[in-house]
């Protein structure tokens, strides 16, 4: 159900049904129908007629169009606004690359903060310790390899203390 919620809210927030995005129009109508109050997935026989309705013409007005607004507001309360915005951007923009990347990096970044990562003991602290050792760039790698192979002519062997960069300093 939650997956359907994404596409539905996305279309509502990001430019209506005209974009449509990834999903076809008719398919969306079906999902909206399923989200009516009381129209849950497992409610049983009482709502059986709702499953037959989408097979009629989807462009005709549904009885479900009015309660949709309330449903929308409920969802706004439940979901984090930032998540809502990124999900809406993904759904409305037809999965364009930037928003997908944004969403993926947000998800990866929040993984360490989430409960799942905390279940692995020592993962966070060891990642934070290891991160310092992999903060390299091309300039550093080239200079370091030259220094390992030809160390005899280098003069400077002291490590830099503090956060200022001697490379920036050497420009002046």
């Amino acid at each position: 159900m939650s997956y359907y919620d994404y596409s539905n809210t996305g279309n509502q927030d990001g430019g209506g049904n005209s974009g449509g995005g990834f999903y076809g129009g008719g398919f969306n109508q079906q999902q909206q129908q399923q989200q009516q109050p009381g129209g849950g997935f497992f409610d049983g026989g009482a709502n059986a007629q709702q499953w037959q309705q989408p097979q009629s013409d989807p462009m005709q007005g549904y009885p479900g169009s009015a309660p949709q607004g309330q449903q929308q507001q409920q969802q706004q309360n439940f979901w984090n606004p930032a998540t809502m915005a990124s999900v809406a951007a993904v759904a409305a923009g037809g999965m364009n690359n930037d928003s997908m990347l944004d969403f993926a990096s947000n998800a990866a970044g929040s993984f360490l903060q989430s409960g799942t990562a905390r279940m692995v003991p020592g993962l966070e602290s060891s990642m934070l310790r290891l991160r310092r050792y992999f903060a390299v760039d091309n300039y550093y790698v080239r200079g370091k390899m030259l220094k390992i192979i030809f160390p005899f002519r280098s003069k400077n062997w002291k490590r830099v203390v503090g956060s200022f960069s001697w490379r920036l300093w050497s420009i002046f």
Binding site: A135, R159, V160, S163, R167
Partner: protein, 176 residues
Amino acid sequence: MLQQNNPPIPDFALPSSDENAPDLYLPLMSLITYVLLCALCYGTAKHFDPEVIPDVTTKCFVTQILEVLAIRFGFHLMQAPVPILDLFSYTGYKYVGLSINMFVGLLLGHLGYGHRAYYITFLWTASASSFFMLKTMANNIPVVTAATGPKREVMVVAFAASQFATMWFVSQTKFL
């Protein structure tokens, strides 16, 4: 008890802004390169076996761990603080030299000079690694060490010599 007198480790700059900072990217990548070059060397001699790859990796890694433990123990005797990952970084730089040795040996192996080329290159890269270790350790150990511990100069030279020995030990020249 020993830890109480230690000065705190200063806040060193990251590798991207300091040429002398230790990193783990180069050791990791050059270890992988070295293992693959060893596998290639076995393959050109028609002796390749998939077991070569874990064998060489284990040999290198176990040697490095023992070396790091020995150096850490020496630092402990001198009461000098050092993070253990720094030691993994410093001792891992020798794989760069080993990869170069193996590459030169493979290139000239086609002409029949594999062994000779390997050992001539080995002399250069091993002494370069030892010198690198010497200068690095000389600059990392604080000038004032424990009065009862071993001499600072002796330890620095011993660490540098251990580079030469371990590089000799993990060399794979059987099929060059």
